[in-house]
């Protein structure tokens, strides 16, 4: 069998984590079957493929499931090393730097951002937005360090691991900015990230994969209403 094998991606259209997987697959030029999951009524395949988290994305390669977006992206890079560009650099130290910023993105930016729709009060929302924006400021420094002045991407002249992980969030960054009224990637405060976002959106892979921002805003408003209606100690 070729390096190919059968690829199936379990996902949900709005999920930025699924978008990361799609971007990686697109960049590597890999074809795959996409399965849209109804997260309110998860398929047997999803539940048996990811019993620990019962979450998307799940990448199933020749019947074997890989879970968690950052793990999926690294897997795609390693299992299909011959296909398309490498997402992680070859140099050990540069790889560590990429992993560092990937972890930072997850712990400091994505984690508070995920609370934006969930929190009940304006004060709480302002606080998680503040944390998200503060993380963007630090990430600006990370972009400067990673690209080594070669820019515009974390991977330098070409898209790399951190670019894919942050790239998956782009439509949500824009949607969040619309319904919160606050800028997360502000050209005045984080010019490198703002330029990064523009260049990333021009990529073929981005055009093919990134969600429509208006659709996400609508989706977000509905989600927020659902969270607000739920029991207080949810």
């Amino acid at each position: 069998m070729t390096e190919g094998g059968e690829l199936k991606l379990l996902g949900m259209w709005a999920s930025p984590f699924v978008t990361r997987a799609k971007l990686a697959l697109q960049i590597k030029g890999l074809s795959y079957e996409y399965v849209e999951e109804d997260l309110g009524s998860k398929s047997e395949l999803l539940l048996s493929s990811n019993p620990v988290h019962k979450a998307v994305p799940v990448l199933i390669h020749d019947g074997k499931p890989v879970c968690e977006s950052s793990v999926v992206v690294q897997y795609i890079d390693e299992a299909f090393a011959g296909a398309g560009p490498s997402l992680l650099p070859a140099d050990p130290y540069e790889r560590a730097v990429a992993r560092f910023w990937a972890a930072y993105l997850e712990d400091k930016l994505v984690t508070p951002w995920r609370q934006v729709l969930r929190v009940k009060t304006d004060e709480e929302r302002a606080e998680v937005m503040r944390q998200t924006i503060a993380a963007a400021d630090v990430l600006e420094g990370g972009l400067k360090e990673s690209s080594g002045g070669m820019g515009p991407f974390f991977g330098g002249e070409s898209v790399g691991y951190v670019d894919v992980l942050l790239g998956g969030m782009i439509s949500w960054v824009k949607a969040t900015e619309v319904f919160s009224g606050a800028k997360i990637i502000d050209a005045a405060k984080t010019p490198l990230l703002a330029a990064w976002m523009e260049r990333f959106c021009e990529l073929d892979a981005a055009r093919a994969v990134l969600q429509d921002v208006g659709a996400l805003v609508e989706y977000a408003r509905a989600l927020q209403a659902r969270f607000a209606a739920a029991a207080p100690n949810n």
Binding site: P51, V71, Q74, Y75, P92, A96, V138
Partner: protein
């Protein structure tokens, strides 16, 4: 031996900034020993961090940080992967197969995002809150036990196979706290009957020479843990809880330097 750039960088000195009770530090110490790498160790006072540490880890200001040839690497799991990348020919920590690597990474995240915080929550709480935290730990251990029994790690002595690998180091350097916390809180966390495979794995892991060299003596860990729990319960402001904790475990101040701020310890597993 020909001095290729890779060889030259392998020869560059290694210096590890750590804390003696930090399981994240132990991960790196163990990995360095497994790979047979010489390193200088600098103990950090977490209550009063050195300028050198702050310079090497400005984003998180935490241990461990490994400095190799002047370049700083923070975050234990990142450091472990770096060691494999920089010394690929020596005792790999990650498996060769891409799918197995994905599994190892997935479960490392689980250890740090789910199991670790759950165990920390048991340690930092009392009463009903603690009972809920214990249930969480048991749920997490059950998932790992299932993988050992019927899943991806079936039939293996260690998560890495016949020899310890990345996941063993990550789970193992932290799991020794389970027995310590059980002793200090009086709560049963790892029942050999409920989690026989996990229990057997932990016993085999702790018997390894490199592990015995790395993990501090249990009485030091106990003393340290008692001090931290007393402080955590005191911080929680529950007077009655603190009094009963003091009665249950004599609140002698540890002879070692004062425990680091709770935030650095509470999820340090």
């Amino acid at each position: 031996m020909e001095k290729t750039p890779e060889n030259a960088s392998q020869a560059a000195p290694l210096k590890l900034f750590g804390s003696w009770a930090s399981s994240y530090t132990h991960r790196v110490q163990l990995a360095l020993r497994l790979k047979g790498l010489e390193f200088e160790y600098a103990e950090e006072d977490l209550g009063s961090k050195s300028n050198e540490l702050l310079r090497h880890n400005p984003v998180y200001k935490k241990v461990p940080v490994l400095v190799h040839g002047g370049r700083a690497l923070p975050e234990s799991v990142i450091i472990l992967q770096y060691l494999d990348d920089a010394w690929p020919e020596t005792r790999p920590l990650l498996p060769a197969d891409a799918f197995d690597r994905a599994l190892a990474r997935f479960w490392c995240h689980f250890a740090d995002d789910k199991l670790g915080p759950a165990v920390g929550a048991v340690f930092a709480s009392m009463g009903e809150d603690q009972e809920a935290a214990v249930r969480q730990v048991h749920e997490n251990l059950a998932l790992i036990e299932a993988e050992l029994r019927d899943g991806a790690f079936k039939g293996r002595r260690f998560f890495g196979g016949d020899e310890v690998g990345l996941l063993d180091v990550v789970l193992g350097c932290g799991s020794y706290w389970l027995a310590v916390f059980e002793e200090v809180t009086g709560v049963r966390l790892v029942d050999a009957d409920a989690f026989p495979l996990f229990h057997a794995w932990l016993r085999d892991f702790e018997a390894l020479d490199e592990v015995r060299e790395t993990i501090p003596a249990v009485d030091r860990l106990l003393e340290y843990a008692r001090g931290v729990r007393h402080m955590l319960l005191g911080l929680a402001g529950a007077g009655a809880a603190a009094a009963s904790a003091a009665a249950a475990a004599p609140a002698e101040a540890p002879a070692a330097p004062a425990p680091a701020p709770a935030a650095d310890i509470a999820v340090d597993i």
